[in-house]
């Protein structure tokens, strides 16, 4: 456990500079976006009102209120999130391959640590999850500030009433603010399983070389197949099952997929891995 925490700390530190850059990018882009989108809206509004000699209520009647979704749907908000997701997806692979390639093959050191080798896998897996959850937390913290920025620029008359608690209606943010704890577990649990399966696929490739790429793809497809089997079963049986039954079956399948990913990774790291 101690070694796991040390490795986790070590792995997080290795990505930290890039992570801070991502955080900076999100903050700067979204704050600038909040200002640009709000000011842009007010400029257009002023122009339309002046040009057509409209009263505020007439304008609202014709053009509607400013909704926070207009900002959330803008490139300023979405692009840094997409960029961060892409970076983290790349890092899922890079977190392993960086240890094999380059002049300094750090994987020698990692595999020679006096600890169970699966600890390395868990530390890397937790690192990815922490990085993801860290960005989610950041986004949750940023939204109230962005609301403040927008509301300070757009007067009350021109906007719908929005506060953090009203986000259930924003589809974009369902991923950030799952409605219930169970939804949170589902969304990020599936994410965890996906990363675990990818990690195991990487280790299959690292253990068997070129042949390993083929095995890894087959393994990935099998895992996916097992995971979605209950949904397919329900489709082919014309919705024979209750939602709760499907959910329980998915849960069992998830445990099987995650358990086998860890078991295979442990076996490969112990007996098959090549440096």
């Amino acid at each position: 456990m101690k070694n796991y925490l040390k490795l986790l700390n070590f792995e997080v530190n290795r990505f930290f500079k890039l992570y801070l850059t991502l955080i900076g990018l999100i903050i700067v882009s979204q704050f600038i976006g909040a200002i640009v989108v709000s000011k842009g809206y007010m400029n257009v509004t002023d122009q339309v009102i002046n040009k057509n000699q409209l009263s505020v209520s007439q304008y609202i009647k014709e053009y509607g209120l400013f909704s926070f979704e207009q900002f959330v749907g803008s490139e300023w908000f979405v692009l840094p999130i997409l960029f961060s997701i892409a970076m983290l997806m790349i890092y899922v692979f890079f977190i392993w391959y960086r240890d094999w390639f380059g002049k300094n093959t750090f994987i020698y050191r990692l595999l020679m640590l006096p600890t169970e080798r699966i600890t390395i896998y868990f530390a890397k897996l937790t690192t990815i999850m922490l990085l993801v959850l860290g960005l989610v937390t950041l986004q949750i913290l940023l939204i109230p500030i962005e609301i403040k920025i927008v509301t300070s620029i757009i007067p009350t008359d021109f906007r719908s009433d929005f506060s953090s608690s009203h986000f259930d209606s924003l589809e974009m943010l369902v991923w950030l603010y799952p409605n219930a704890f169970i939804e949170f577990i589902l969304i990020y649990g599936v994410g965890l399983i996906l990363v675990a399966v990818l990690f195991t696929a990487i280790l299959i490739e690292r253990s068997y070389g070129l042949k390993g790429i083929f095995f890894a793809i087959v393994y990935g497809m099998l895992s996916f197949g097992v995971f979605i089997a209950p949904i397919l079963l329900n489709v082919f049986s014309n919705d024979y099952f209750y939602a709760l039954e499907i959910f329980l079956m998915l849960l069992v399948m998830s445990i099987i997929v995650l358990g086998s990913a860890i078991w295979i990774a442990n076996h490969l790291l112990k007996y098959k891995i090549r440096v």
Partner: protein, 229 residues
């Protein structure tokens, strides 16, 4: 004792190790000799479970390798095993963090012996100095067995001399060392046992002292006999 018994290893269809066997005792320096590509590095990796073997068995003091073994045996590969952005002192604290057997005092001594600056980044070190740091990472562990892969390869003569000096010091005494080389001349006077390997097989295993005393032959003489027939 490290026992390598009938080890076979294939890369695809190519058999790299063909039922290779030898032993290395504690307190002795055993040298695996052979030209490049005969499987010397593969043996080292196999001992450390860094590459799987197809058959055979490797035992360290009678036991198969497990996590505890890494406090007992360590491997110094021909490439440094720390991150390039780390300073030497960072690399040392990494070792201290994970290994109970890390001896910080000895690391410090070696650092002074090699005249290295602990605040230097690994990426900025010369090849010779990198080899020395790599050597310290292994030597400052209180392990019973040290495996060294071509420690003299590609480094300047003064660094070679310094590293060779370490072999005659208390740092190596009482430990079992397995060292590989394709140039025996650097370390002929240091080794106790020689294992001549060719094409994944042991051609001859002998005590250097015994051969020198009884037959009046050097390691190179024996190599000539064995390799040239």
């Amino acid at each position: 004792m490290i026992e390598v018994k009938n080890v076979e290893k294939k890369y695809g269809r190519k058999r790299v190790l063909k039922g290779l066997s030898f032993t290395a005792e504690k307190g002795e320096i055993t040298c695996l000799i052979g030209i490049n590509g005969v499987g010397k590095t593969t043996i080292m990796k196999a001992i450390m479970a860094l590459t799987p073997i197809n058959s055979g068995e490797i035992l360290i003091d009678g036991k198969k390798i497990r996590k505890e073994s890494f406090e007992k045996v360590t491997f110094i590969p021909d490439t440094i095993t720390m991150l390039p952005q780390m300073k030497i002192c960072d690399a040392f604290s990494f070792m201290a963090d994970f290994y109970k057997n890390w001896d910080p005092q000895r690391a410090e001594e070696l650092l002074q012996f090699f005249k290295l600056d602990p605040t230097e980044r690994i990426a900025n070190l010369s090849k010779g100095n990198m080899a020395k740091v790599n050597m310290i990472l292994g030597l400052a562990l209180n392990v019973d067995y040290l495996l060294m892969d071509e420690p003299f390869s590609g480094i300047d003569i003064f660094s070679r001399e310094q590293i060779a000096e370490v072999f005659t010091s208390h740092l190596i005494e009482d430990r079992g060392v397995i060292i590989t080389t394709h140039e025996i001349s650097d370390i002929e006077h240091l080794i106790d046992r020689a294992v001549l390997i060719d094409n994944g097989e042991v051609l001859k295993e002998f005590s250097v002292e015994e051969v020198r005393e009884k037959e009046g032959k050097s390691v190179v003489d024996v190599m000539r006999e064995v390799y040239r027939g």
